[in-house]
Every structure is written in structure tokens, then in C-alpha cells.
């Protein structure tokens, strides 16, 4: 028995032995601990498309342009640029002092190489919308043209010329998207698909990759060769994988995180009361909506029914329910979108009673009423917030119109498939987050041929307005066409916008340099720790 005891003891000691040294969490001013949400699917800028991957990639790499903490566009890898009079030719002047983490200079050739890799069908990149407007990009992606024909060329070692197929006013902001960051040719050629792994990844941003413990964290450290290294305050940053918001919040409350990715709705009021200075909430470029299956005649042929359903929803109530400062949505393009004036439903300002009376009237004109009850299905992906909202909507529709909706929750991938098949679907919950700060990122998803057009909305008038907006070089004219397009769409009611999202983070009071911005970009290089009071 004693031999068995000794064996057991040895086993337990071996199992509890701590492989890696304990890390100081809270007090070291050279270490930042951030929650990142879901695990990035890849750190290869051409293999990812999630916002989570983008958060880490913006620390590691740098595009031609970037953003300030307050969300203003700033020069980054390019120190300046010129735009041709017709808006289709951009010349970027790269910083001569920009360096890779190996110390090599970042050149125009690097950008040309990377953009070509992005559109090369063999790369099978996931997010190429950022460069879709570059000359021949779509043809190359479709395999119809050679990658060399891409409208991007190195005029000299530090001059990059990009030609577009038409003027695109927001093009410059797209050049901040991680998919347009340069990849290091030497390591891509050497390591292939494994080039973005620790030990292999060469980056041109403020930080370089140290470790990626899948399921736990990504550790990055200062890139000494970065051109603006003198202004980087924090040496090392840990991006933790925090898929569960409540778990993330507990870690924050235990002092293990300085910044969280989000604040769970069930704890928001408590945090606001206990730590008001650490709760950071700001408008976001995202909209929560219910879409109609427009290919189903019950909806597609009955605009009055769609409008009645939209009008019957008390958005103020929903916003209170979610309760984190979200704004009720009476339009599709969120407030705060650049170069755009919010458009709204004509009835947005009506009192609740008037609105509901009007909704009932429309519902009856649509052919329903006390004698004929409308019984749609609402499908939403499994989540407590989505469930609460669906229950609220169900009860509003019942009490205002007499509609008997059935609630069905589904796993997200199942919901997406059902939406796209457009067979067994009536009404579905989704959200849309803008990829760049321009109304186009919202409105274009409703164009007839857009793959992300979930409702199946087809309007020749809307499409033609969008096309005319796209052809405008004059920003005011373009804005007018976009606004008109949104108004056209709002009158057609292919969907019900419910509320506009907010960005919400817990940010330790010791962290300075944090700015709230609609894009929700928070580069670690701009953050630092306040001197102890």
C-alpha cells in the first residue's frame, strides 16, 4: 500500500506542476490584458474576416491608413496620398521609415504583392470586398484575368498607384481594413499557409506576434522597428479569447483584464451602478433587424402588412429591454454614419397611440383583421437577448394587431441556411454591422444581386438609385442619391430595423488613451497606463 501511496503522490505532483511561470496581472504597467471575444479564425489577413481577428490584426499590422482613438482617419503606412480629379486613381506615398518587424523597409512592392495575393483565387481569401472596386479585382477573383492585371502598381519603391474601376468616395477608408494590410513576402514564400503563426509571422505594425495559445490567448510584443515605436507605451499585450461575456466580466472584476470586449446585458445595470467610470458606451455601426422573406408572396405581395408589422413595434420598449444605451431604429443606416443624414419612416414621430391606430388600419387594409388572423413564424438564433426581443415582438403584434406569431429558435448556422434557402422562412432576426464608415456598407446589402441580401428584396428603382450614387464624383450628389435610395427602401419595408447597436466595454480606470468611436477600433498602441494617483 505504501508503494501505491508514493506512486499516487508522485503522480499528483507531476500533474499539478506548473509548466509556465506565473504572470503578474494587474500592476505591471508594461502589460495590457484585453478581452477579444471569439477566437480569431486566423491571423493571416487574407484568411480571416471576423471583427475579432481584425482587433488583433490592427495591433500587428498596418494598412496605408488607420484611425485615431476618436475615429478620425489618419496616415499610417502611407504618409500622404493624392487622388486624381476623376477620383479613380490614388497615389500613396509610403513612409520611408516604415519597417517590418525584421527591420526590412516596407515598400510599394510589398503592397502590390499583398493585394495580388488577396485577389488570387488560389489564396481563397474570405474578405475581398475591400478591394472589389480596384481595377480588374473581381475578374481576377473569378479566375477570368491574371493577377498581374490588378490595378495596383509600384511607381517606385515608396510610391504605390492604385487604379479603381470607378470613383469610390470611401475607398480611402477601406485601406484601413486588415485585408489590405501588407503581408511579408519572404515569410509567405517560405512558410506558405503557416506564415501567420508565432515564430513565422513578420508584421509591419506596432506589435509582433509572440505566442498564440489557441483557446486561451494571443500574446504580442512591441515591434522595435515600427516607425512610430517611440509613441507606443505598452510593451506587451495579451488578447484573451473570451467567447462568454459573463465569464469575461468576471475576469475583469477579478482584476485579470484591463479591457473587455463587451458587457453582458444582465450585468450592465450593476456595472453602471458600481463602476460608472469604467463603463464605456458609444454608438456603433450596427443595426438589429427582423427581415421578411420577400420571396414568400404573403409578404412580398403585401407591403401594407409589412408596414403594419413594423409600425406595431414599440422600439423604445425594446431599447429599454436591452438596456445598454442602444438607440431605437427608424431607419436602416445608423446615426453617426459619415457623410450622411439619417432618413426615417414618416411615422417615426407619431405618438404610440397614433402609430398603433395607423398600424391596425394598415393591417386591415392588408386583408387581415378579427376575421382573418395572420400567423407568421419568427426565427431567431439561440440567445437570451434575441429570445426576450422575440417574445416582446410577439406580444406587441398580438395586442396591437391580433397577429399570432410563432417563435422558433435555431442555431445560427441553421438560421442562415434557412434564410438563404428561402423555403421555410417567414420572418428572421439578424443584424448587420458596417465594414466601413459609409452608408454604402448598409445600403448595398439590399441591392438585388448582393450576396448578403437576406430578405430577397428586389427593387429596380432602388438598384438604379444605388448605381447613380456609385457613379457620382460629387460627394453631395452622391449623398443625395444614397439618401433617396434609403427612403425608397424604407417605404418598401423589406425589413424592420429595431435598434442601433452600441459599442460597450469595461475599461480599467488606469488605462488612458481610450477613445470611443463608431468603428470600435481600439489600437493597443494608443493606450497607456495612468501614473498612479
Amino acid at each position: 500500500m505504501s508503494r501505491l501511496h508514493a506512486l499516487l503522490l508522485a503522480l499528483i505532483l507531476a500533474l499539478t506542476a506548473c509548466g509556465d511561470g506565473a504572470r503578474q496581472v494587474a500592476d505591471d504597467v508594461s502589460l495590457l490584458h484585453r478581452g477579444t471575444g471569439e477566437e480569431p479564425e486566423s491571423l493571416d489577413v487574407h484568411k480571416s474576416r471576423s471583427t475579432e481577428a481584425g482587433h488583433v490584426q490592427r495591433d500587428l499590422g498596418e494598412g496605408l491608413v488607420g484611425y485615431t482613438p476618436d475615429g478620425e482617419l489618419r496616415a499610417a503606412a502611407a504618409e500622404r496620398w493624392t487622388i486624381s480629379a476623376d477620383g479613380t486613381e490614388y497615389v500613396f506615398f509610403l513612409r520611408p521609415e516604415a519597417r517590418w518587424s525584421t527591420g526590412e523597409p516596407v515598400t510599394a512592392d510589398d503592397f502590390v504583392y499583398s493585394l495580388r495575393r488577396l485577389v488570387n483565387p488560389e489564396t481563397a481569401a474570405f474578405y475581398v470586398q475591400s478591394v472589389g472596386e480596384i481595377l480588374n479585382a473581381n475578374e481576377i477573383i473569378g479566375g477570368e484575368m491574371e493577377v498581374e492585371s490588378l490595378g495596383a502598381e509600384a511607381v517606385d519603391s515608396h510610391q504605390l498607384k492604385i487604379s479603381l474601376r470607378r470613383a469610390v468616395p470611401y475607398f480611402i477608408s477601406l485601406m484601413s481594413h486588415p485585408s489590405t494590410f501588407p503581408v511579408h513576402r519572404g515569410s509567405v514564400e517560405k512558410f506558405g499557409d503557416a506564415h501567420a503563426r508565432p515564430g513565422n509571422l513578420v508584421s509591419n505594425g506596432a506589435y509582433q506576434l509572440v505566442e498564440w495559445a489557441v483557446g486561451s490567448h494571443i500574446e504580442i510584443r512591441r515591434n522595435e522597428y515600427y516607425w512610430d515605436n517611440a509613441n507606443t507605451a505598452i510593451d506587451r499585450v495579451f488578447h484573451y479569447v473570451t467567447p462568454e461575456p459573463i465569464v469575461e466580466l468576471n475576469r475583469y472584476r477579478a482584476g485579470e483584464l484591463h479591457v473587455t470586449r463587451t458587457i453582458p446585458p444582465e450585468s450592465f445595470k450593476q456595472m453602471k451602478a458600481e463602476r460608472p467610470d469604467e463603463v464605456r458606451v458609444s454608438p456603433a455601426l450596427g443595426v438589429y433587424y427582423y427581415g421578411f422573406n420577400m420571396t414568400n408572396p404573403a409578404f412580398g405581395d403585401n407591403p401594407k402588412l409589412r408596414e403594419a408589422l413594423s409600425m406595431a413595434i414599440d422600439r423604445d420598449f425594446l431599447v429599454d429591454l436591452v438596456g445598454r444605451g442602444e438607440a431605437p431604429a427608424y431607419s436602416w443606416v445608423p446615426y453617426g454614419t459619415a457623410n450622411y443624414d439619417p432618413q426615417t419612416y414618416s411615422w417615426a414621430r407619431l405618438s404610440k397611440d397614433d402609430r398603433e391606430r395607423k398600424a391596425r388600419q394598415l393591417y386591415e387594409e392588408a386583408g387581415y383583421g378579427s376575421r382573418r388572423t395572420f400567423r407568421p413564424e419568427i426565427r431567431y438564433n439561440t440567445s437570451e437577448t434575441h429570445r426576450q426581443i422575440a417574445v416582446a415582438v410577439q406580444s406587441m403584434w398580438r395586442s396591437v394587431l391580433g397577429v399570432e406569431a410563432r417563435l422558433i429558435n435555431e442555431e445560427f448556422q441553421v438560421l442562415l441556411q434557412n434564410i438563404q434557402q428561402r423555403e421555410s422562412i417567414d420572418i428572421f432576426r439578424l443584424n448587420w454591422d458596417g465594414d466601413y464608415n459609409d452608408a454604402h456598407t448598409f445600403l448595398s446589402t439590399l441591392e438585388s444581386d448582393n450576396p448578403s441580401n437576406m430578405t430577397g428584396y428586389q427593387s429596380a428603382e432602388f438598384d438604379s438609385l444605388m448605381q447613380r450614387a456609385g457613379a457620382q464624383i460629387d460627394p453631395d450628389l452622391r449623398k443625395a442619391f444614397l439618401e433617396e435610395a434609403e427612403n425608397r427602401m424604407l417605404r418598401d419595408h423589406p425589413l424592420i430595423p429595431m435598434y442601433f447597436y452600441v459599442n460597450k466595454h469595461m475599461v480599467s480606470s488606469r488605462v488612458t488613451g481610450w477613445g470611443d468611436n463608431v468603428l470600435n477600433y481600439h489600437y493597443s498602441q494608443h493606450l497607456s497606463f495612468a501614473a498612479d494617483e
Binding site: L43, A124, V128, E244, N250, A254, F412, L416
Partner: protein, 306 residues
């Protein structure tokens, strides 16, 4: 015995193949694919991506390709974690899950067997009811309630222990191991109690008593071994389960183990990752059941000749 073990392992191969085939069909039958998202891929890109991951082949072709890879020990690339292969992901997470699982199981056996034996010897006393009651609570309160509560109490309010794995230090083991062990302790205590009561009323124990042996000696030298037999059958699958990680414990404590990959893999339709973990789990269950059968022979002389 070696020959027996050898035959059993050979016999397991068709079982494993069947598991792989069923799992393969099931993950592919689930609606949605690994690259579906609200941001729908334009058709040209979708085509490129499908081709890159051979998802444009027919299902039988994909299955054969997968089996071919398996034969070479290649579990394929992960569809979700695109910088890694499935073998790398599992290889990185498994040692940690196994370490936690082994510790939890040791704790569970030590605490569970002790509690069970004590309850059995003090049958129908207050102590017995207490042990049984606590065990019942341990079984009925799910980990997803206990684990976050532990974090709130010990990490947030008392600040004694780290809230997450990433914070480092040996103390980070404590809460996950206890959380993993709690339900197991409860099961083992109940199994041990029932089996011990059974054994203590058997003839050979009565004979031992008649010879004047103390209860302590009877338990230690005569009763404990046969009382462990029902427990053993339970331990095979239980150990396989606990070694491959618990999604709840891993998620609550931020532990990069196998359990979270399994669930996230299923939700993300990461076909290869889910298949890889299923194969691992099936192989573990088969091996551990074999180990249990062999141990039976060691613990019960009556089984040896069969």
C-alpha cells in the same frame, strides 16, 4: 491476458470505423456549412474557398479522402482555426484536458470512495443521510451553476484564487479540478455506498467477523476490493469523458482544452475538428473499457479464468 487484449484491440477497429462513418455523415448532414456567415461570400469567392478545402467534391470522395488522410495520421486542416491542423489543435489541448481530468478523477475517487465507505458503515445514521444528501446535491446541481458561482465567490469577492487559467500559477488548478470532480465525487460516493452495503452483508464478511476481525481490517483487506467492482464499470466511460475535457469548466475558467473545441467545432461546422475529437473520444472509451475488463481480473479472482 495479452492475447485477449490484442484480440479486443483488433475487434475495436471496425467499431472505430463505424463511429467515423456515422460521425462523418452526421456533421455533413447538419444544416449550414463551415464558411456560412451573415456576411455572405460572393459566389466567386465561395467557389474558391470550397475548392481550397475540397468541399466541392462529392461526399463519398470527401469521405475517402478523409480516411486516406487518417491512415497517414493526418486529421486534416481545421476549417475554423485556419492557421492550424486538427492534429495540432488536439495535440495542444489534450495534455491539459488530461491533466485536469486525471487530477479531478483522483480527487473524486479519494473523496467519493471515502465518503461512500463511511456512509455504508454508518448505514441509516445521520452521517449516512448527510453524505447521501450532499451527494444528491452534487449530482443535481449542474457544473454551469457551480463553476461561475465559485469564480464569483473565490475570485471576485474574496480574491483568493485566480478567475482564469491565463493568469498563471499553480492555484489556477484548484477551482477547475474541484468543479470537475464535484459531480464525480457524488456519483462515486453513491455507487460505493450501495456496493459496500451489499458486500458487508455477504457471507465471507460474516465469516471474517466471526473470526474476530475488526471492521477496519475487514474493510481494508476483504471488503474494499469486491466493493470496487461496480465502480470499475462506471469508471471506464467516466474517465474517457473527464479526460477529453468539460466544455463548461473550460469556458468558465478560460482553459484551452479539448471540450471547448468540441462544442465550438460543432457550432462552427468545423467538420474535421469535430471528427478528430470524436475519434479520439471513441478510441479512449474503447481503450478504457478494455483496461476496466483487465482490471476486473486483477480485483476479482473469479474472473481470471474466463
Amino acid at each position: 491476458m495479452l492475447r485477449y487484449a490484442y484480440l479486443r484491440i483488433l475487434g475495436a477497429i471496425p467499431t472505430l470505423l463505424l463511429v467515423i462513418a456515422i460521425a462523418f455523415l452526421m456533421v455533413h448532414a447538419a444544416p449550414g456549412g463551415p464558411f456560412d456567415a451573415a456576411r455572405v461570400l460572393p459566389p466567386a469567392i465561395e467557389k474558391n474557398v470550397q475548392a481550397a478545402y475540397h468541399l466541392d467534391d462529392s461526399l463519398p470522395q470527401q469521405f475517402l479522402g478523409y480516411l486516406q488522410g487518417l491512415a497517414h495520421g493526418d486529421f486534416g486542416p481545421s476549417y475554423r482555426y485556419r492557421d492550424y491542423t486538427v492534429a495540432e489543435l488536439i495535440g495542444g489541448a489534450l495534455p491539459l484536458s488530461m491533466r485536469l481530468g486525471a487530477l479531478a478523477m483522483l480527487l473524486a475517487i479519494a473523496a467519493g470512495v471515502s465518503a461512500g465507505v463511511i456512509a455504508a458503515l454508518r448505514k441509516n445514521t445521520l452521517l449516512d443521510r448527510l453524505v447521501s444528501g450532499v451527494a444528491m446535491i452534487g449530482i443535481s446541481i449542474p457544473i454551469f451553476v457551480v463553476a461561475p458561482l465559485m469564480v464569483l465567490v473565490f475570485a471576485v469577492f474574496l480574491d483568493w484564487l485566480p478567475a482564469s487559467w491565463a493568469s498563471g500559477g499553480a492555484s489556477r488548478l484548484l477551482m477547475p479540478v474541484v468543479a470537475l470532480a464535484l459531480p464525480q465525487i457524488a456519483y462515486i460516493a453513491r455507487l460505493t455506498r450501495a456496493s459496500m452495503i451489499n458486500v458487508m452483508s455477504s457471507d465471507f464478511v460474516r465469516t471474517a467477523r466471526a473470526q474476530g476481525l475488526s471492521t477496519a481490517s475487514i474493510v481494508r483487506y476483504h471488503a474494499i476490493k469486491p466493493a470496487m467492482l461496480p465502480l470499475l464499470s462506471y469508471m471506464g466511460p467516466a474517465i474517457a469523458g473527464i479526460l477529453t475535457g468539460s466544455v463548461v469548466v473550460e469556458e468558465v475558467f478560460g482553459i484551452p482544452g479539448v471540450g471547448q473545441f468540441f462544442i465550438r467545432g460543432a457550432l462552427n461546422r468545423d467538420y474535421t475538428l469535430v471528427l478528430g475529437i470524436t475519434i479520439l473520444y471513441a478510441a479512449l472509451v474503447i481503450l478504457l473499457n478494455l483496461a476496466v475488463d483487465l482490471l476486473y481480473g486483477v480485483l476479482d479472482p473469479r474472473m481470471r479464468d474466463r
